[in-house]
Assembly symmetry: C2
Homo-oligomer: 328 residues x 2
């Protein structure tokens, strides 16, 4: 493209201006700077800048339809789960010459659609995402066919491969564990339950074991910390049953549980706390609390492996990979 008569500069123009051979330019473009003098590299760089030359790799992409870039859409880059997921994805992609680039849906369905629209109009080779919208909305937003892998949030009868954790089972077995220990009531700390399938599954697992369930839903967009903390205290103290505070999201665990510990509300006797949490901060609280770890890095790595398979063989059937969360 850049060398078929359009006015934009091509590699020959750069070579001419730099006063070196085309071979030298391509060595430079391949980063083989040890094969030329500092002065030559300097001249080449200046020529490229003067002519505002764009390497042919872009033209190559047009032919191969490949940029070696995979778009990764996470629900919120402020969540440790999301960034660890991305680090796991990147590690595997890069071992195969691909690179993961991160997009932030910022817990906003419309925003996810806008991002998909952009991604669909760019030369990304595939998309790995924590989906907020349903498959039809996602497909319509992308407006072209490309390999997709979803992770974390389960989609029923998904047209794409997905990597999820056993949300229902682990929430249920953890609840069972606390019921066995004599805890008869649970206070669930969560974002809006109906907005994410993951939360629904976890909530189902909890209600399958606990008879007395109180729920405190917190807005991810805006909430007043003190007000929410008072509501939480009120729920905990409204009767003297042995109570478990069960956080479905690490963000809420980190925001409220340390304060409950400091205020001596959590004693691991009358009141204890657990939840889905992957950071070290959550595990360093005293008294020690047993938590559910999902290993987002591993989930990311697994979804990247599935993506690489898709890229090699687009005819692959959609499969569902379940990662087992740990309670420890």
């Amino acid at each position: 493209m850049t060398n078929n008569g359009r006015k934009s500069a091509n590699i020959k123009d750069v070579a001419a201006l730099a006063g070196v051979s085309v071979a030298t330019i391509s060595r430079y473009l391949n980063g083989e700077l040890d094969r030329m003098s500092k002065k030559t590299a300097e001249n080449v760089r200046n020529a490229i800048e003067k002519l505002n030359y764009v390497p042919n790799s872009v033209a190559r992409q047009m032919k191969t339809r490949s940029s070696k870039m995979i778009a990764v859409i996470v629900s919120n880059v402020d969540d440790y789960f999301s960034t660890e997921l991305f680090k796991g994805i990147s590690s595997i992609l890069e071992s195969s010459g691909y690179i993961g680039v991160l997009f932030d849906a910022d817990s906003d369905d419309d925003r996810e659609q806008r991002l998909l629209k952009t991604i669909g109009s760019q030369l990304f080779d595939g998309v790995i995402m924590q989906p907020a919208n349903n498959p039809q909305t996602i497909t319509e937003a992308l407006r072209r066919s490309m390999p997709i892998v979803t992770v974390d949030r389960e989609i029923d009868d998904s047209p794409w491969p997905q990597v999820v954790i056993n949300n229902y089972e682990v929430a249920r077995s953890v609840s069972h564990h606390f019921v066995q220990e004599g805890y008869s009531r649970v206070v669930v700390l969560t974002s809006e339950i109906k907005k994410a399938r993951t939360r629904q599954e976890r909530y189902r697992g909890i209600t399958a074991e606990f008879k007395h369930v109180d729920v405190l839903e917190i807005s991810e967009v805006v909430h007043n910390h003190q007000t929410t903390y008072q509501q939480l205290l009120h729920l905990i103290q409204k009767n003297d049953k042995k109570t478990v505070i069960f956080s479905l999201k690490e963000r809420w665990f980190l925001e409220f549980v340390p304060q409950l510990v400091f205020d001596r509300v959590i004693d691991n006797k009358r009141v204890t706390a657990t939840g889905f949490a992957d950071t070290d901060y959550a595990r360093r609280l005293e008294p020690r609390l047993k938590l559910i770890s999902q290993n987002p890095y591993f989930m990311g790595a697994s979804s990247a492996e599935v993506m690489l398979n898709q890229l090699q063989d687009k005819s692959q059937k959609a499969k569902r990979i379940v990662i087992r969360a740990k309670f420890e």
Copy 2:
């Protein structure tokens, strides 16, 4: 490109296969789904998938040399500072029709170079980065001329605009504040100081006010929490001077200060703590500690504004914008 005789499908092929007009296809591609029946949209989507058609916007990019995407490289996506920086950047870029895509240097200079190499060979319109490498290395890795804005880490005589905070001044005035309050010794909690200009500046500010300075450098790659905590305790207790623990990085503050509070080491009398910290968690500790907030969201927004100016007028001179950190 996609319609100049190469074998790949063009918009006419899609229209033919879908049995609709080219106008309808372009409406579909522009997302104007309200202007066609669900059935038509369905047919178009299927035709696009069958022919694996890539919208012409890619071809348009080749002409305009614009993808409307800005690459953002942060030092570590696990740091709240980095993700807030990105959210600030995105908010401004998107108000002007650009989109920010995030790359993670993972605190690794070589990795930053690899990312720049990829970005240079792709159709990104510009780069906003927390630079780890020096300007020449960055330019050589990119291998083409594009607008660059650096943020957070200061570069002397930078060829590019940069947005930084007044690291030296704020570290010095905060140190002065504690000296006034009778604290005669400081223990600095930091990553390797010589690796980042930001830390050097902050350290300079501290040593300008404190005579007795102890430093605990922690590796970002790997460290043992308990061992490091014991070293920290040893430094604090090696004499009975009034001591300030001064963390140059929020990550270390969050890892060690809450434990010091829990262990009753920090009493705001003999021992207190401060540092650069932007999350709410850091501010919720009891006893309350005064902290330095950099407002990464605002820093990001500012760097995005500078980038937008660059995109409109590439001849702009490189300028240095200083954001004042708050101590509160």
